[in-house]
Structure formats: C-alpha cells, structure tokens
Amino acid sequence: MQNLAGSLLLNPDLRRLRWRCRRGLLELDIVLGRFVERYAGLDERQKELFDELLDLPDTTLWDMISGKTPALQDDQRALLAIINAD
C-alpha cells in the first residue's frame, strides 16, 4: 500500500485524498484505493467531482459505484465509469 511516487511526496491534495479513501466499507477501501493512484490523470473538473464523491456517505457512494442507484449528473456518471473501469 505504499508506492510512493515522487509526485505523491509533493502533492498535498493527493495525500489528503489517499487518506479520505479510507472508509467504513471494505468495498470502498478497495475500489477507491485502486482508483486514487490514477487521480493525477484526471482533469480539473473530474478532480473536483471526485472530491465531492468522497464526501458522500459510504452506503450512498457504494450504491452509485455498484450501479444500484445511478448517479444523477452526466459528469458524475462519466467519472464513475472511469472508477469502474479498473
């Protein structure tokens, strides 16, 4: 769990997000933990959206990722598709 790329050492945002990917649901720990390593490749809007997703309650977020309750916004759906592509 410690692949410390050079960029990670410098980027405080990413460091904060990595910790926020620690959740109460194991499902999310795994999915978000995998995804956050690809965070650097997102555009600014997607980064903002990811931050917003992390503020959702665990159960709501998992329902969105697993497709039980589809996301409402288009750009959210697009980001979820990227998260689900892992």
């Binding site: 410390l4 499902e27 697993s66």
Partner: protein, 587 residues
C-alpha cells in the same frame, strides 16, 4: 518535537456506534468530552452493519429478555459472562426505544411499531422456534445508527477530533490512566489529551488476517495501546469467520447464494460438502462449512497456484437467476474476483469477520486486570466498549445482531459509570513527566530509521502467518510453527522503514503506527489459540475436537510483556436469575 496539551473531563477514542453512544450521554450530562477518530465519524466501520440490532421487543412474535439471554449464553458456547449477558438482554428494549427517540429511522409495522426480522440463532422458548428479534433500518442499519448518533452529539456539543489518531495510553506510577497521546493525521502534530476518564471504542482488528471482511481502519489500535501499557487482552483466540469471502479481497458473498443453489467445489471439481454434511451439504452452519473448506485447503485440494482457496460455483444457475434473485452478487464478483459468476466460479475463503475478545472489562465498561489484589481489579480512569472490549457477552461466539446491541447497552452504561466516578474525582491527577515518552520514541524511530523492510512487506507477512496458522480451523503443528513465525514477524515490525518522512497526511507513517497495534493483536491471538486445547465457539482445533469444560471453562488473558498467558474464571452467575447449566451447543 514540541507537543501541546489539552484537558478534558473525558477522552473517547473511537467514533463508531459505541464511542458515540457513550459520548452523547456524557456530553448531555454536562461533561467536557473529546472524541477522536481516524476517519469522519459516520465512516466508522459500524456503517457496514446491515442485519440489525437484537432486542426482545416482541413486536412481531412473542419474545422476552430471558429467551434472548438463553440464546446468547448458548451462542457464546458458555464462555460468556452471565451477569453481563443478563444486563445486556434486559436493557435491550430500552436502548432501542432510546434510539428511536433520537430519530433512528427503523423499519415499521403497519401499526407504527418497530418491525423485527428473523435472524439465525434468535429463538423463542429456550431454543424451540425461531423468533423475529432483529430491529433494522432497511439494509443500512449501521449507517442510520451512526448518522443518528452523530447528529445528537453535534447538538450536545461533543468535541470531535476528526482525523486524529491516538498513539498511546498515559498511565502513572499507580497504574491509573490519565489520557492519551494523539497525532493529527493532516499535520502530524502530536498532542497530549489529559482527562479524568479515558474510554476506548476503537472497534475490531480483523485486519490481522489476510482474509477479512473488515475495513482497512480496523487495526486494533485500542488493543495495541492497552497491551503496550501493560493491560492484558482477553479471549483473543476467538474470532468469528464467514465461510464465503471473496479470495484476495474479503468482501462478503451472502449465504443466500448457497440458498439459491450455489455450491462449493475443490481443485478436482468435487462438491466436497457432500462428504462433510451429507444432508445439509452447502447449507450446513457457518462453522461446519468453514472448517470443511479449511480442511480441503490443508489437505492439498485447494484451488489456484497456491492451492489456498476453493470455488463457489453458481454458473449453472444462469445469468437470469443471478441477476434477479441475487442482487449485487454479480457486481461484487466482477469487481473483486474479476469473474462473471454466470461464466466461471467465484474463488472464496473463510474470512475473519468479528473479534470476540478484547480489552477486559466488567459490565459497567470499567477495564479490569489482575494487577494488585485480584483477577478483576478496576484500572482507575480506564474504560472500554464495543468490539475492542471483552465484557464478555459474546464469549466464544457472537450471536447475530448482538454486536450493535453491545455498543448501545455498554456505551450507555460506561457513560453512566464515568459520570458517577468523575463526581467522586473532581480533579485530574497530574501527568507523569514521561507521559508521552513511548509514542514519541515510536515516532522518532520512524523518523530516523534508514534501513529496513517496508511496512507493507511486514504487514503481508503477518497476515499470511495468521491466515495459514491460526485460521478458522486450527492444527497443532501449524499453531506451534505459527507461534514461532509470528514472533519473528514481531521483531521485523520493530525494524520497518518509511521513505516518506514528511508531516502532512503521511499515510505511510499512519500505517507503520497501525502495524505496531496489529502485531500486538496477532501475537495475542496466536499465543492464546496455541494454548487452548479444546474446541469452543470460534476456536476449532483438529486435535481437540470437543469442548472441555473441566479444563477450559475459563477466560484467557494474554500479557504482551513476557508473552505470558494467564486465566480467569467465567462468571456463570447472572444478576437475578438462575445460571443456565452447561449443555452441548447443537442447533
């Protein structure tokens, strides 16, 4: 390093169901309460609980607390303390109604009363017929519980320290507990929280195993801190396993899959449960199925290159049945096992789920240890509740839905006890000069260590040793070797290196500090399991297949210093009723 200091009446470590229930009562009583949590409170692991809260409301079918008590004592395989179990089962309806008043959105009957679901092990009339005893809020009981308690705590002015990690307990030379040293994860700042009462509610430690249903935060920090401060850990050999966690991930596949006709196969494609349980086959009870799986793996019939799992086959059910009758299973399988269950079987292993042992307490939440005059002397200023505590109401095996109940009953009771104790002790004892010495030394080591293994490497080694040597079915040769190997891993854990030495959100440092706690729990579990020569509840040994009440009707106490074991009697006498006599635990 400079460290700041703040003083509170009470410091609570942990903002799951148990910590927040206790904090609420204390804040409402006017105490100045600090609650620390590694993650935002509503993201505590309690959020994962779906099944419900056990309470004999009798809203659907006739029920009473004495039947609930019987189920709990029997479920515990008679290792549960009957005074604490009586206390919990009697208080259950009250704490559920309190929660209803706090705004918990329970499922309801048409007449407006709380709806109750059936659940395995919940019986009427001393084990005769199933009863509906579980109170739930749809499939998100844990989420609703955390949300409700968090809102109430905000109203009651509880001081939350979010993304703060407690590092070590502060004890003075009398052995009294005076607070904790903690670190803010965002800044790396270290602070002493000085308090007249310290309550641990840090949850479980399922992450000591490679197969675990627990979230990554469940690293047994409370147990590690207690162990380092000289407090023993009780009944650590007892873990509850779920038979079907996804191999390599731990995410649960519900029993419903086997109910719909899914079955387990070994490397030869054999439906092996037919050999172990000719009638019930794959629908035999959790422990029977888990042990059969472990036996197949141990005897070389496991699947995959390492032969370390079995397969859950449901492709014969067809895509349609899987999609419609087993919602969510396809997604879990695709995401965590990378297989489409309509095409290929899902790799599964018995997976650690719940820790019955923990920090020894009495039923008032006071931590008790054999350190001056008797086996159960109160450690002044120190309390523990929830999964990190061993009251012991779960004994050798937890009854479903009794954990959330335990959080509420003992969270509330510990608060009552603390309020009473603090009325007698209006002034905090002075801090010892070396209050923060241990945690500062641990941090300094991580800052200066230049060579060594990575935390991930040592953590993997620990999880592998625990899984292979101390899993759901235990064998004498594996346990003996396991004691040796886990000792070696513990030495390696003292010598880890982190490359990132910075302060801001240093996840690597947090994980190194968590490993210190995990390894304490792993050692306690391995040593206690190797010593207990019987099978009882969650502890199943191949060489001692039966429960042995003559020699082993007693609680284990593991002391980290000297890796020493001691024992204390089970409290068989309830508070007001007759003791339930010992019987074989058959269902």
């Amino acid at each position: 390093m400079t460290i700041s200091k703040r003083t509170f009446d009470v410091v609570v470590v942990g903002a799951g169901g148990s910590g927040m229930r206790a904090a609420l009562a204390m804040s409402e009583a006017g105490l100045k309460v600090a609650v620390l949590s590694k993650v935002f409170p509503t993201r505590s692991h309690t959020v994962a609980a779906q099944g419900g809260i056990a309470a004999s409301l009798g809203n659907v079918t006739e029920d009473n607390w004495h039947w609930h008590m019987y189920d709990t004592v029997k479920g515990s395989d008679y290792l549960g303390d009957q005074d604490a179990i009586e206390f919990m089962c009697r208080a259950a309806p009250e704490v559920v109604y309190e929660l209803e008043h706090f705004g918990m959105p329970f499922d309801r009957l048409d007449n407006g009363k709380i709806y109750q679901r059936p659940f395995g092990g919940h019986m009427q009339d001393y084990g005769k017929n199933p009863v509906q005893r579980a109170c739930a809020a749809a499939d998100r009981t844990g989420h609703a519980l955390l949300h409700t308690l968090y809102q109430q705590n905000v109203k009651a002015n509880t001081n939350f320290f979010v993304e703060w990690m407690a590092l070590d307990l502060i004890r003075d030379e009398d052995g009294d507990v005076l607070g904790v040293t903690a670190m803010e994860i965002e800044t790396g700042e270290v602070m002493i929280l000085h308090a007249r009462a310290t309550l641990f509610a840090t949850g479980g430690a399922g992450r000591i195993f490679s197969a675990s249903t627990n979230a990554y935060i469940n690293t047994g920090d409370g147990l590690g801190m207690a162990a380092r401060a000289g407090i023993p850990l009780e009944d650590m050999e007892f873990f509850q396993f779920h038979p079907t966690g996804v191999y390599g991930a731990g995410v649960l596949i519900t029993e419903g899959v086997r109910g719909e006709g899914g079955y387990l196969v070994n490397r030869d494609g054999e439906r092996f449960m037919q050999r172990y349980a000719p009638n019930a086959k794959d629908l035999a009870s959790r422990d029977v199925v888990s042990r059969a799986m472990a036996t197949e793996i141990k005897e070389g019939r496991g699947c995959g290159p390492r032969g370390d799992h079995v397969l859950l086959k449901l492709d014969h059910l067809g895509d349609d049945v899987i999609r419609h009758r087993l919602p969510g299973i396809r997604e879990i399988s695709l995401k965590f096992a990378h297989v489409d269950p309509a095409q290929a079987p899902i790799p599964v292993v018995p997976t650690a789920h719940y820790m019955m042992g923990g920090i020894p307490t009495n039923y008032h939440g006071q931590v008790v240890a054999p350190y001056k005059t008797g086996p159960e002397e109160v450690v002044q200023g120190f309390y523990a509740v929830g999964e990190c505590a061993c009251v012991s109401v779960h004994g050798a095996n937890r009854l479903g839905c009794n954990s959330l109940l335990d959080l509420l009953v003992f969270g509330r009771e510990a608060a009552r006890q603390i309020i009473e104790d603090l009325a007698r002790n209006p002034h905090p004892k002075p801090l010892p000069p070396d209050a923060a010495e241990r945690p500062l030394a641990r941090l300094a080591r991580l800052d200066t260590q230049k060579e060594g293994e990575s935390v991930a490497e040592v953590g993997d080694a620990m999880r592998h040793v625990m899984q292979a040597h101390c899993g759901v079915f235990r064998f004498p040769d594996l346990l003996a070797e396991g004691v040796k190997q886990i000792g070696e891993v513990a030495v390696r854990a003292r010598n880890t290196v982190i490359k990132d030495k910075s302060r801001i959100f240093n996840t690597a440092r947090v994980e190194a500090l968590e490993l210190d706690n995990l390894i304490e729990v792993a050692q306690a579990t391995m040593h206690s399991a190797a010593a207990r020569e019987e099978s009882r509840g969650g502890h199943a040994r191949d060489d001692f297949p039966l429960r042995d009440d003559v020699k082993w009707l007693k609680h284990s106490l593991y002391f980290s210093a000297g890796e020493r074991l001691d024992y204390k009697p089970v409290r068989l006498k309830p508070l007001t009723v007759e003791s339930f006599p010992l019987k074989a635990r058959v269902y």
